[in-house]
Symmetry: C2
Subunit: 115 residues, 2 copies
Amino acid sequence: MIKNFSTIPAGIACPMVSFVNLISGKWAIPILYRMIVIDEPVRFSDLQRAVHPITQKELTRQLRQFESRGLVTRQVFAEVPPRVEYQITALGKSLRPTLDSLAEWMLENEGRLGD
Amino acid sequence: MIKNFSTIPAGIACPMVSFVNLISGKWAIPILYRMIVIDEPVRFSDLQRAVHPITQKELTRQLRQFESRGLVTRQVFAEVPPRVEYQITALGKSLRPTLDSLAEWMLENEGRLGD
DNA sequence: CTGAATCCGATTGGATACTG
DNA sequence: CAGTATCCAATCGGATTCAG
């Protein structure tokens, strides 16, 4: 017998919609997780090397988005050659346990997935 | 002082890339989480009502994808009117702790996010 | 009821060239 | 080095129509 499905509050899934809005796209999670693991200021070019093969354009876009959300900070040094360092914030770091869990699940179950 | 970034194995972020490939898109996580919470066979139309305002096309596409990955099952009943029931698999359910953690983080931190 | 098919606009994301 | 600007292809995703 199937329970009356409509009795389940529609709001349950809403955090998930918010989450997808927060970190959607091909590179968002990989970038964020990498920065969490690093947990130190990191230069743009180093980050690009670490998260490859991401393009400059994509990396820039995602970093700007994270910055506006308060997940990472951006510090510009008035030098030649220019140096810009990005770093994960406390808020960003608070995502670590969740993302760890996610990575672990993937490592454990990748082999079981179809296709 | 900045650690030499290139010493960090590039493989660390790979599970994340796999994860994004598994459940990317606007509706994938909301659908999956909803089915996990239900944990019972659910009809197509009920699911569409629960995860709104998703279109038929999108719901169909995502369900087919999940089916091919082994995250949900699809059972067709030869009736008039036709009935099709989808249900989360054990593999799909094993994602629950991770997705719970994700939902909780979102509920706790939604207010702290910029923009 | 459960789709498949089609059309369409919006968004994503890669490649490349250029700049301070 | 750290971007910006431009072009382009592919995908995403909504609206609508049709079919078994």
